[in-house]
Symmetry: C2
Subunit: 164 residues, 2 copies
């Protein structure tokens, strides 16, 4: 995990994941929130499943072997890199200067996002309305709705549709 | 109802009501979304209950008289003026130029807000997380969560807390 600088200025957390929608949310954020202030810090937050979610039993009730767990860990890391690379590609389309930090946490997405926003004292949380589809995540949309309700800052929910 | 100009530019709908939180949402919008572009049009949307809601029966099952209904209409109009005056007071704290339009509609808040956003082809909807408490409105928070789910544009939900 990269360290988040606690310097003064507006802190905007963008929850990113494998979904196209989260990249659209990032793009919306860059167009609408970041460019107006060069003192903004944009924090890309990726939440991967807690290791415990896939380290216990497979579908037939057998314990996963160490090899399987290691492969899953590698897959998870590759996924983080892939998401962050896609995010960087989104940044390249915008010319406004912005400080970017990357944070990777593990756990239940909705709780981790709310906790991270609070810990970082973020000014705004931006996220897609769906997403968080890796492995056995929860029902569509429930992460964003949970965060809209419980995150301790303004929350922007960005849908990916032809109209926006 | 004042007519909304359909001129080109970013259209931001702010749902305002009697709540302190909706004024805070307006203030957040002015600080974070409007000032970056002088071509923004900010549309203040107030939704009052449909006349049918309070034109039928009182708590004892009797039909309201015409006088009572007329008094309620007057109260409702006074409330609209009061909310818009409060909104104007919020504007006075901001120096950035912004085009402002006022729209008053009647009906179920969550449906009217979503429909208005769609009709106006708004770019963003901003609202408080609570509010809409006039007469017998629905459960706290359900309006904003409904809009976050169904409005056809990015939705910003702004909570009023000491931290934002």
């Amino acid at each position: 995990m990269e360290r988040v600088n606690m310097k003064k200025g507006r802190k905007i957390v963008v929850a990113v994941d494998e979904s196209e929608e989260s990249m659209h949310a990032l793009s919306w954020c860059l167009s609408n929130l970041v460019s107006r202030s060069s003192n903004s810090t944009l924090i890309l937050l990726y939440v991967k499943p807690s290791p415990i979610i896939y380290s216990q039993f497979d579908a037939k009730g057998f314990l996963f072997s160490g090899d399987v767990i290691a492969a899953m860990e590698r897959y998870s890391s590759a996924l983080v890199n892939s998401v962050m690379e896609r995010a960087e590609a989104v940044f390249k389309n915008f010319s406004n200067p912005v400080n970017v930090e990357k944070v990777v946490r593990a756990g239940e997405a909705k709780d981790v996002i709310c906790n991270t926003v609070e810990t970082l004292e973020a000014d705004t949380l931006v996220m897609g309305s769906h997403g968080y589809g890796l492995l056995k995540r929860v029902l569509l949309g429930s992460v964003s709705h949970h965060c809209a309700k419980y995150a301790k800052c303004p929350v922007v929910i960005v849908k990916h549709s032809p109209s926006n």
